[in-house]
């Protein structure tokens, strides 16, 4: 009985190849659109939070001014003395890395590459969870003496050195040449869209002396000791800086302390909203696919009603006819669903690769869009049939 029904359903599908194809296509497009959008959105969110957690979850970033981002609205920069004060007075601060940066073009032999040069201390590597893939960090003498040495990011290494080992080579940065002593292990794209590996690290003194020409520290990073409260550290740090920067009791801070949690939240909520918007667009395409299917089914209702009349007239039971239509709808819509999911998986893998974000298989959205499409197929394939199968055979045959 079931095999016969399957046979009849498959024959009906083959008989109406164009209609079946269009039905499947509607579902494929809808499912694929939703799954791709959501998968990419999830990947983007994951990439953002990954990047931030690769910086460490216990970081405080301190910058002058109240604006988010680099630069300051006329608020004074920090001094090296501020860093020393924090190191000695805030016990929960494990590493304190001053950073002062400048963009510069770097040259090695015939290749050049514009990048950002950051002056800092070895604390920078510890605080930011940076590891070295080759070479070493700075020595005390290099830091103190502001020697022309640098540790380069993976991107810079690729652009300037290709396959060569850079350690020991001299690169030119602006007017001075500088020895490469180490290479950072790659961290990849950051959540903000910038490449974390595209940088050159030098001792703070070196940058101050040879590039910026001031004693200023434009921002700094503090890593909070494991187990210590980040909020307490933030509070202590704020108090200390207010005191050192001589801010009156009623005045507002002229600097900003952010912890990684906050940044994570801001950025992930942005990508989440983006994902939602994209999914909404995709859902519309699923709906449009559904309407297409509805159209195809309704157009063919007359012919199918006559077909039902014929089947009833030669002795098919109402439930056999209905089962056939149900199987037909389920076969078509699940075929569409499966093809859609396969297509979505392949294209989101490719797109995720191209966009440099991780590919995550989301079971929930795959299942959901599959079920939705199956429901559309079944509703529009089955319910018109149910009406027709309830008619007298002769009325179904006469349907116009």
């Amino acid at each position: 009985m079931f095999w016969n029904t399957l046979l009849l359903s498959l024959r009906a599908i083959r008989r109406n190849l164009m209609r079946s194809f269009l039905t499947v296509l509607g579902i494929v497009i809808g499912v694929a659109a939703v799954v791709v959008m959501v998968t990419l959105g999830n990947g983007a969110t994951k990439s953002v939070s990954d990047q931030i957690s690769s910086m460490g979850s216990n970081l405080l970033m301190v910058m002058p001014g109240q604006r988010f981002g680099p630069g300051s609205d006329a608020a004074p920069s920090f001094k090296s003395a501020d860093i020393d004060a924090i190191k000695s007075q805030i016990s929960s601060a494990e590493w304190v890395a001053p950073i002062t940066g400048k963009s510069a073009t770097t040259v090695y032999q015939s290749k050049n590459w514009p990048t950002v040069v950051s002056g800092t201390t070895n604390d920078y590597f510890h605080a930011g969870n940076w590891e070295l893939s080759a070479g070493r960090m700075f020595t005390d003498a290099e830091e103190r003496g502001g020697k022309a040495v640098c540790v380069i990011g993976e991107t810079v290494r690729q652009k300037l050195f290709g396959r060569q080992n850079p350690v020991g080579s001299e690169i030119r940065v602006k007017e001075f040449s500088c020895e490469v002593v180490g290479v950072l292990k790659s961290k990849g794209q950051s959540g903000m869209g910038s490449d974390q590996d595209d940088s050159i690290i030098m001792p703070l003194r070196t940058v101050q002396r040879r590039l910026t020409g001031t004693q200023d520290v434009s921002r700094f990073t503090v890593s909070v000791r494991k187990g210590a409260s980040i909020d307490a550290a933030t509070k202590q740090l704020t108090l200390l800086l207010r005191e050192r920067r001589k801010i009156g009791e009623n005045e507002e801070d002229d600097f900003r302390v952010m912890d990684t949690r906050q940044i994570t939240q801001t950025l992930t909520s942005t990508t989440k909203i983006l994902t939602m918007l994209l999914s909404a667009v995709a859902a519309v395409s699923l709906l449009v696919g559904g309407i297409g299917i509805m159209n195809i089914m309704l157009v063919s209702v007359t012919e199918r009603t006559r077909e039902i009349g014929i089947r009833l007239a030669i002795g098919a039971l109402e439930r056999e006819v209905l089962l056939q239509f149900l199987v037909e709808a389920v076969v078509l819509s699940s075929m569409g669903g499966i093809v859609g999911i396969v297509l979505a998986t392949l294209s989101s893998m490719a797109l995720a690769h191209a966009m440099n974000i991780p590919y995550l298989f989301d079971v929930k959205i795959n299942l959901l869009s599959f079920l939705f499409s199956a429901a559309i197929g079944v509703i529009f394939g089955y319910f018109p049939a149910r009406r027709a199968a309830g008619l007298n055979p002769i009325d179904a045959l006469r349907h116009e």
């Binding site: 009985m1 016969n4 046979l7 009849l8 024959r11 008989r15 109406n16 012919e303 006559r306 077909e307 009349g309 014929i310 089947r311 009833l312 007239a313 030669i314 002795g315 098919a316 039971l317 109402e318 439930r319 056999e320 007298n392 055979p393 002769i394 009325d395 045959l397």
Partner: protein, 234 residues
């Protein structure tokens, strides 16, 4: 003659539509048909022949009256029981063929056997044999659109006889056929009637075709006007 006839209609009426638009197509038909009989129904167009056939074929229900088939009171049956009656006892040839479009002749003829649950091999064999019987050997894989009207007619006949039904109902089975093919089809029907004892009920306009039957009834305006039994067969 057996005590109770295979088919008995009494006081059958059929009204189409309601209110002012109502039209009474059958105005009280009484008819008894014995098992193994060969009955031709004649009458002018619109006299209610097809309506009667549809009721006899359990495709439609009468407005009033009673229809007994094989000691079963048909109007008391459920839809599904009527479907089973069609499946197991009746074969119907429609005035308008009613073949499944875009489906091969073989698959069309197989269809009633699929619903009967016949295994694939015997089903194919029976369908091929039925097509051969109506002279369509070699046309098995043609779809209705690729067949002439007469060929479609014959596929419809093959589909009706492939199950070897107890009663074959044919609404103008030779309406689209030339004289020679008509004769072949009629000879086939006569042999089914004589050799297999299939009861045949057939609508026709042509006296030549009606001549193959053993009994001829005339419809006029929803009434049964005359009923004659061929003397030579009696």
């Amino acid at each position: 003659m057996s005590a109770s006839p295979l088919i008995s209609l009494s006081g059958i009426t059929k009204t189409y539509g309601r209110g002012h638009a109502a039209f009474q197509a059958l105005k009280g038909i009484d008819l008894e048909i014995d098992s193994g009989d060969f009955l031709a129904i004649m009458g002018p167009s619109g006299s209610g022949k097809s309506t009667t056939m549809n009721i006899l074929g359990c495709l439609d229900t009468p407005t009033s009256g009673s229809y007994r088939l094989k000691d079963v009171q048909v109007e008391r049956l459920e839809r599904s029981q009527r479907a089973l009656l069609r499946r197991h006892c009746l074969g119907f040839v429609f005035q308008g063929f009613n073949l499944l479009p875009r489906t091969t002749a073989l698959e069309n003829v197989e269809l009633p056997l699929i619903y009967r649950g016949e295994p694939a091999s015997s089903r194919h064999e029976a369908a091929r044999a039925a097509l051969a019987q109506v002279g369509l050997k070699g046309w098995e894989s043609h779809t209705p659109a690729e067949l002439s009207g007469g060929q479609q007619q014959r596929v419809a006949i093959a589909r009706a006889i492939v199950t070897r039904p107890e009663v074959l109902l044919a609404d103008e089975p030779t309406g689209n056929l030339d004289t020679r093919t008509s004769r072949e089809i009629m000879e086939l029907i006569v042999s089914l009637n004589e050799k297999l004892g299939i009861t045949v009920l057939m609508v026709t306009h042509e006296p030549d075709i009606a001549a193959y039957a053993r009994r001829v009834v005339h419809f006029v305006d929803g009434f049964l006007e005359s009923d004659e039994r061929k003397r030579e067969i009696l």
